[in-house]
């Protein structure tokens, strides 16, 4: 195996690198020229619709699949490229699965000790105690997996993955087996433990909220390609593509046109676009919390649906042109169906603009 030259002290080299990684199953491209880096200690969330290649990416990093093209490095070591191939047991990567995959014939302590067989006995039991404390399950060390609750099993799985001090931990939808009430709590606990351990982690999920709340960066995938890899804020507020905008949260699209450095659409001026010349046609992305409503008997727009969500009420409005917009209103506001309303953009918003399916910030050359 090739050793990448050791990093100079003080600099942070990425803990995990995927360079142009491609994986095909027969004719289907499951991962296409993936480029991704994770800083040491960083927590990445991978999200996308089913079949987008997020799990394949995880399996490629873990060594459960072999890439057809590209290079994968873990902790400065090439683990897969054209010539090199390291099997999973030599990769120093921890895995946590949705079904936890605890060994049913071993106690909690022995499950955790499974990856520590190369340590001397005393050191092994010390490390088992350490990680058990980290997940606050020291009192359950001698239990068997079937005697634990779902949340406890999940923590044992995490402790087991962390015990050999892996270079990275990969979590494949680790919370989807837990019921809603438990999930939030277990998720917070898991993130806390990962932070405490300082491990680089990659978490696959199909839950948008989870991706946004947990990740330092969110990687949105579609059809085997990375659409956007960015901070949660940027992914939500400045989606790179039409797909990211609609997949990460709710979004409606309105055609708009630049006129005198102003972006105008059916509901009026939505923002200023300095530097743009008149005549560009774009789509503007509007999220329900960015859309304001006011009752106006003269308006052609009508409320067509009202959904009560507790703290907020979601209003769906059909504009004169037939386009649809959604708007969050405080729980006390409820316009009956059929109410004529004027629609505007909440002040201070800089909405995302799309040309074709790609977001733009400046006028194209």
């Amino acid at each position: 195996m090739t050793q990448v030259p050791p990093s100079p002290p003080g600099s942070t080299r990425p803990a995990l690198v995927l360079k142009d990684v491609t994986k095909r199953y027969g004719g289907v491209v499951a991962a296409c020229a993936l480029r991704l880096e994770a800083e040491p200690g960083e927590l990445l969330t991978l999200i996308g619709p089913s079949g987008c290649g997020k799990s394949t990416t995880l399996r490629l990093v873990a060594g459960l699949e072999r890439p057809d093209e590209g290079t994968i490095c873990i902790a400065d070591e090439v683990v897969a490229d054209r010539r090199h191939w390291q099997p999973p047991e030599r990769r120093r990567v921890g895995l946590v699965f949705q079904d936890h995959a605890l060994f049913p014939h071993l106690t909690v302590a022995k499950n955790i000790a499974f990856g520590l067989d190369k340590l001397p006995r005393a050191e092994r039991s010390r490390r088992v105690g350490e990680v058990l404390d980290m997940v606050r399950l020291g009192h359950l060390a001698s239990r068997y997996p079937h005697e634990l609750s779902g949340g406890e099993q999940q923590r044992v799985a995490l402790a087991r993955a962390l015990a050999p001090k892996p270079a990275a931990v990969l979590l494949d939808e680790p919370f989807s087996n837990l019921d809603d009430n438990l999930r939030t709590k277990v998720r917070a606990d898991t993130v806390a433990v990962l932070r405490e351990a300082g491990t680089t982690a990659m978490l696959v999920t199909h839950d948008q909220t989870e991706a946004l709340t947990v990740g330092d960066r969110v990687v949105v995938m579609r059809d085997g390609e990375i659409e956007q890899a960015d901070t949660p804020e940027r992914v939500f507020e400045s989606p790179a593509t039409r797909f990211v905008a609609s997949f990460m949260g709710e979004a409606d699209f309105l055609p708009a046109r630049v006129r005198n450095a102003l972006l105008t659409c059916e509901i009026g001026v939505v923002s200023t676009v300095p530097g743009w010349t008149t005549g560009w046609d774009v789509d503007v992305v509007l999220r329900p919390h960015e859309v304001a409503l006011a009752v106006d008997p003269d308006s052609a727009a009508r409320v067509v649906a009202v959904e009560y969500h507790g703290a907020f009420v979601l209003h769906t409005v059909v504009l004169g042109s037939g386009s649809t917009l959604r708007s969050w209103q405080p729980h006390a506001v409820r316009h009956p169906i059929g109410t004529p309303v004027t629609v505007s953009v909440v002040p201070g918003i800089t909405p995302t603009l799309l040309i074709g399916d790609t977001a733009v910030t400046a006028p194209p050359l």
């Binding site: 199953y25 459960l64 072999r66 099997p87 047991e89 699965f97 949705q98 079904d99 993955a161």
Partner: protein, 562 residues
């Protein structure tokens, strides 16, 4: 020869998750392919030899009659088991009558009665010198016309009585487990119970029926002793008779290839009957088919029918054997201590134990190898190892001999004087090899069913924790598939103890097993003497039926809950 593993597998394979597709374990893959080659060798040897002689066909006389007899027997037993097994399954599932709950699982028992044992008990009772004919003659005079019992219809009856449980079990499972919602939907659409049976339940059960029929046909084809008692010359018997009778190698090999064609036809027939239909329905919610209470003479009739089948297929012959064994022991107490009995029993048990151990070990390694990846080729190789079960023992025996002859020639050509020498003909190595070829399938299927229940993520987790393949086998896979290993050991041992033609073909001089002893004694009409060893075999064969009892009970509870 019972095959509960196959029955269990039928269901387990439906939910199998795709194994990891990573590569990089060439040794484990090679090992699996190696086993497949080893198992396929005898069969391939037969085919190659037959093809080589195809230019100068040397088929035995009366071949047409043999083929026709085989066909008639297979069709007859197929229809017989469908009527008995299917009918009983419907009766027990759709109706309530006295003793129904007990009968529902007792009806599996005839599976423990090898056809060749039921066969000779049946003959002893109904043959010319038997009590039934004597009674008929004393009542109606000596001129009364009595059909010949030792005939094709007799063999069909006896084999149907021992093989119907396959159809019974799979039909019942299909009737009970196939989506209760479908049944409910059909009923709410206004269909009567019998209309739902013919229009919905039976079409849905077709894949199960096809699987059951394939099992029955396979057992019929591989049968060796029963058909001989009944003077029915099938192609499988023909192979043995040609080989042992005239030592006509070429002729026997060509006949073997013909038997293989039959086996392939059965497998193809199953696929065809199944069609493109793969109804793997999840047991959903719903009421499903609920049993209707019978009363009066109909209830009594239902109980009587079940009892009659159970009596003819198991209870009466066991009692007859007990009667003979006790009578023989009283008449000649010394026979109980016949040193031959202990000797033959030891032979049977030792050969069975070694075979079971080897089969289970190979199955474990194959299951493990598949878990580590390897792709379609290795999976196909593993599948190939199960074909041996469809090949009659006599054919496997001839294949093993052919393979060793070829090995001998190669060794001598390489300068090893004498080749393998007496290794095969002078020891039980040949028998063991043939046994492994034939019985690897039930072992592998049982172990594989257990592997299917172990989530692939378990293996992946172990690997990511730094465990190498051998450690994973030892510390993860073996402990987790232990139930399958136990089932496999038991199944192979029982099949091996019952096996007959392989020992007859390949045994070294003076080597006899219990099954051969029963066969020889029964062939010479020493029924009383054969009773005790026959009882031993029946007792041993009852063990896997207890596994099936659990299976049936599970179906029953599912039924009650559903």
């Amino acid at each position: 020869m019972s095959r509960p593993a196959v029955l269990v597998r039928e269901r387990a394979s439906a939910v199998r998750p795709s194994p990891a597709a990573y590569s990089g374990r060439p040794w484990w893959s090679l090992f699996t392919v190696g086993i497949a080659v080893l198992v396929a060798t005898p069969v391939v040897a037969v085919v190659i030899d037959a093809v080589r002689q195809a230019a100068s066909p040397d088929l035995p006389r009366g071949l047409g009659a043999m083929v026709l007899t085989t066909l008639l027997l297979m069709v007859g037993v197929g229809v017989g088991t469908l009527v008995i097994g299917g009918g009983l399954a419907w009766l027990v599932t759709a109706y309530r009558f006295p003793l129904r709950d007990a009968l529902a699982w007792l009806l599996v028992l005839p599976l423990a009665m090898p056809a060749y044992i039921l066969g000779f008990v049946f003959l002893s009772a109904f043959d010319v010198s038997g009590p039934v004919q004597q009674m008929l003659r004393s009542v109606f005079g000596t001129d009364v016309w009595i059909p010949d019992v030792a005939s094709l219809p007799g063999a069909i009856l006896v084999m149907s009585l021992t093989l119907y449980p396959y159809v019974y079990l799979l039909t019942r499972a299909a009737l009970v487990e196939q989506a209760p919602g479908t049944y409910d939907a059909a009923r709410t659409l206004g269909a009567s119970r019998s209309r739902v049976l013919w229009r919905v339940l039976l079409p849905l059960a077709r894949p199960s029926l096809a699987a059951a029929l394939a099992l029955v046909m396979m057992e019929t084809l591989t049968d060796f002793a029963t058909v001989q008692y009944f003077n029915v010359r099938t192609v499988s018997v023909g192979v043995y008779l040609v080989w042992k009778g005239s030592f006509d190698f070429g002729s026997a090999t060509q006949l073997s290839a013909l038997v293989l064609l039959f086996a392939v036809a059965v497998l193809a027939g199953e696929r065809l009957l199944r069609g493109r239909a793969r109804y793997h329905q999840r047991p959903g919610r719903g009421h499903g088919l609920q049993p209707e209470r019978l009363s009066g003479w109909r209830a009594a009739g239902a109980t009587a029918v079940c009892m009659a089948v159970l009596g003819a297929g198991f209870a009466v012959p066991v009692l007859q054997l007990l009667f003979w064994a006790v009578g023989d022991a009283i008449a000649d107490p010394a026979s109980l201590w016949d040193p031959r009995f202990a000797d033959y029993l030891t032979n049977s048990v030792v050969v069975a134990l070694v075979t079971a151990a080897v089969c289970v070990l190979l199955s474990l390694m194959m299951g493990h190898g598949l878990r580590l990846g390897g792709g379609w080729f290795v999976r196909a190789a593993a599948q190939l190892t199960t074909f041996g079960y469809a090949v009659p023992g006599a054919v496997v025996g001839i294949g093993v001999l052919l393979a060793f002859v070829a090995l001998d020639r190669t060794l001598e050509a390489l300068g090893v004087a004498g080749g393998t020498g007496l290794l095969v003909t002078g020891s039980v190595v040949g028998i063991l090899y043939a046994y492994v070829v034939r019985f690897l399938a039930p072992a592998y299927q049982a172990v594989d069913a257990s592997f299917a229940k172990v989530s692939p993520t378990m293996t992946m987790s172990a690997m990511s924790l730094g465990a190498k393949p051998r450690r994973i086998l030892r510390q993860v896979h073996v402990p987790l598939v232990r139930p399958g290993v136990a089932v496999a050991l038991v199944l192979v041992m029982i099949d091996a103890i019952k096996e007959l033609p392989i020992v007859l073909l390949l045994r070294p001089f003076g080597f006899t097993t219990v099954s051969v002893w029963v066969y020889e004694l029964a062939s010479e009409n020493f029924w009383e003497k054969a009773a005790l060893p026959a009882l031993v075999i029946v007792a041993v064969a009852t063990v896997p039926v207890f596994f099936l009892f659990r299976h049936v009970r599970l179906i029953d509870t599912a039924h009650e809950v559903g």
